[in-house]
Amino acid sequence: MKIINELSNSAIKNNKKDTLATRISILMAVILLGTIVFIIGSVKADNYNNIKSMIGDYHVSFSGVDEEIYDYLTAYEEIDHIEFDKIIETDMDEIIYEKSPDYWNTQDFEIVQGKKPSKEGEVIVPSRLLAKNHIYTIGSELDIDNTKYVIVGEYDDHSYSFEESIFLGYLENPTKENLFQNNVGVQAYLWYDSPRDTYTLTEQILNEFQINEYEAKNSGRLFYNTDILEYKMIYPSGIIPPKSVMVDAIETYGACFLLTILFAVVIYGAFNVWNSRDVKELALLKSVGMTEKQVKKMVRLKVLRLSMIPILGGTIISYGVANLLLYLFWLNNSFSYQKLSELFGERMQASDFHLIGISVPSILLIIGLSLLTVYFSALIPARESAKLRIIEGLNGIKEKKTRYGTSQISGKIETSLAKDYFRSYKSTYRTIILAMIISSVAITSTLVSQSYRALNMEYDHFNNPYDFTSSIYTDSELDDEMVSKINDVEGIDELHVYQHKDFKFFLEDNEKFISNELSNALVDGEKRADDMYVRIYGLSDNDYKNILKENSLDNDEGYILLNKTPQSNFIPYTFREYIPLTEEDNEIVVRYNAEGKTMNIPISEYIDTFPYELDVHGESGVYIFTTMNKLEEFFEENGTDEGDPVNYYTIQLKANQDLAKVSDESERIISSFIPESDYSTSTILLTEAMNNEQIRNEHLLNAGIQIIMLIIALSNAYNSFHGNLRARKREFQLLSTIGMTEKQIKKMILSESRFLFTKTFIAYIAVFIGIVIARVYRSNYGFGFGLKELLSNINYIPIILVFIITLLGVLFAIRSSIQTIFKDDLNDTIREI
């Protein structure tokens, strides 16, 4: 109806100050919401695109495809398309993967020089192969199983030097005849017609060939492209996301949700104040025949008209803000990478900065969410306006029963009047308090999480006592000469060199082994059998002998069990209590994998202290110590782990002088024996530097959150308080006619704001305690201890800042409103009376 349109339009045009204040509130809220949506959308889309460009967007892949499976898959109606890899093992140390044309559109490989294959017979090879075998160069021809290949490029494969080289070739002809020629492996990549059916259809296919899904997944034969599937909200249980996805969603969208609620509260507050002011006008309109429906429509139209410009403007501005923030993060990361590159002595680089792609779903989400929020925020004021009784609107007398408190006469009149007014405007003040609390909650949650992390670092963290740790990965034994040279480095106080190997521990293999206490803990759910594993350390002869000596043991060369495990997996590291693993049964059974053979390890001795604090005592770990020689003998007897044939060695040392020099010297020796790709080192200096870098990043992130929350707190406090005071202009002027001076009115308003802050503070304290208690309750710490530690570690400055800035916003609003109110001629109001 045209008249409703005109009336809603004129309400906006004739109330320029209210229009501006409400539009600013909406604009601020949309900017914040939009920024979050754009950033989350960009991060998710980048992640999706990254996965897609790296490995492709297939739904599931599985290897070990034979001709029968091939026939079944190619005839399967619900598969949209399939791609295959042809895997060719050679007599040399190389494997050739002939990849389908689509693979060559991904960025899974990093060409160092040359070009990528574009036809059958062309391959690219790892750089390390060309470096090791100078007979090969780009353009070299290879004859493998009577097939000729030409090297057209080299790529960086980031593998260990001793691993097989993978040649990547071009599969032009994915026919059955070609794929299964020469007895090779075939891997299939499937795209289903309906990705949502990925899990059910794959299960059907596997069942058809009696392949166990769990085992296939564990052995790596089956791979669901979960990142791609989860991006499309496809989960193993249909639309119900698994816990990890839920936790991720809560963390990701929690802030978004909180901001939307804040948005709704702020907008509701603005509309409510405006509508209370327009009550007389609405009553007049109803008195000339406007129906409830028309009033509702007018209010809703007013709201939509009011919000369109700030929503569109806010969406555009938020795109800019999101890009600016991401640019700042990128700049910070580049700076961090540069610093870390200097620390580690190798080039680390942040990926290039790119503008957020203009995503239609993100824009629609922002606009839709904003419109919905604005619409719902306007529903209550619209309903109240529609229900307004004409006589109540005209003479301001409500027939509805109102609850009055006691109107005190004693005490300062400004304070007692402030109490009366605070009570009358409790609904407006409640909205202001709610908005202030929500902005404080966001910042408090961040600070509590930070404090909790600090608590974990202090009490749920293994402090490695060594100044230098180097992890070495090799397919052979460690060179004795290298160890002896490190031994000779001046300034080393304590040095340990050891090898370790992890094994599967199955409860059914070890029913006799486990102690009653462990058995009870497993039954009570304090420990999980599924997580348990065995790690055998092969120590140097000296270290091993020292263990025997320190523990008064006499077995020359056997297996010593650290016979203890944390009583519960849910107790922080420092407060753990331990229970024995076994009641001294002398045999433990391990396997390399679920299907692998069982291997018995005879335990000869038992200890109850982790030797030399070599490693973290994992909550599910079973630790056995022997000599390196004995461990080698074990491998000789039982064979090596085909799934993980790498030998893991560790060198740890404590320095008694110039740590930097000792570290440099030790690393120099290691690098002269071990290729760069096969070892990594960390020193206490590097760890400290990295921690500092992390702290700097956290501070930056916190500063960002604080600035956002401060802007919200300031603008909301100013807008809502200013709006409320302007709505009360008549009241102040009536008080003035009775003889209340400007100074007294100011004092009264200040008293009201004092009540507001006291109530907000009390509410905040309650919410703060709630957040802290929830965090402690969900933690593994004792309640009293966790509470005390958490409270003493919280950085209170940002919270205080939010309150100070909000207070300033309110004071500024009081100052500016009083100036506006008393600038107007008192007589104008009297005329309205």
Partner: protein, 224 residues
Amino acid sequence: MMSLVKAKSLTKTYDSTVSVTVLSDVNFQMEKGELISIIGDSGSGKSTFLHLLAGVDTPTSGDIFIQDKNITKLSKEDLTVFRRRNIGVIYQFFNLIPNISVRKNILLPLLLDSRREDKDYFNEIISTLGIEDKLNRYPKQLSGGEQQRVAIARSLITRPAIILADEPTGNLDRKNSEEITALFRLVNKRFMSTIMIITHDEKVATSCDKVYKMIDGKLQVMEE
């Protein structure tokens, strides 16, 4: 006898798009204990005149003396304090502060001045106006007539030099209107209050000692 209220050559002109002279060279004086009324058509300038006397509006030219104090020369702050001590104002609507009790509404001018009430005087006012049992109520819990009684009580509480009432019966039915008019007379006699009533109602006007008529911004005495 010295005049309690004196207006000299009062002129009020509003300059918006066109200049409108609402009051033109008005001279007026009132003695202590007088009860007068001013009648006139809508827009004749009678309410403007009352607002100038109440100090809520300022004249374009001319002076207003209340108890020999030229209120046109006072600062905003001083004028407010002067008003609460010396002038009681009653309006047709919107007289009372809705969120405070009747007792507090009546005592408000005193409380704002950090003064205590004279209990006997307070009791006398409320018994004269018949609102003894309404003190703990809130304005919204009163009828229009009762609200106006409270407004009169509030205007009396500071023993002001003058009470200015702008259409005090305009919103009331005939019965209430007559009661309020009678109350003004009673207050005038019992407390020796000086009262000026602006009204449309001839019955109200003629109940006063003197009646003035405002015609196009000029004030004329109609009858005594």
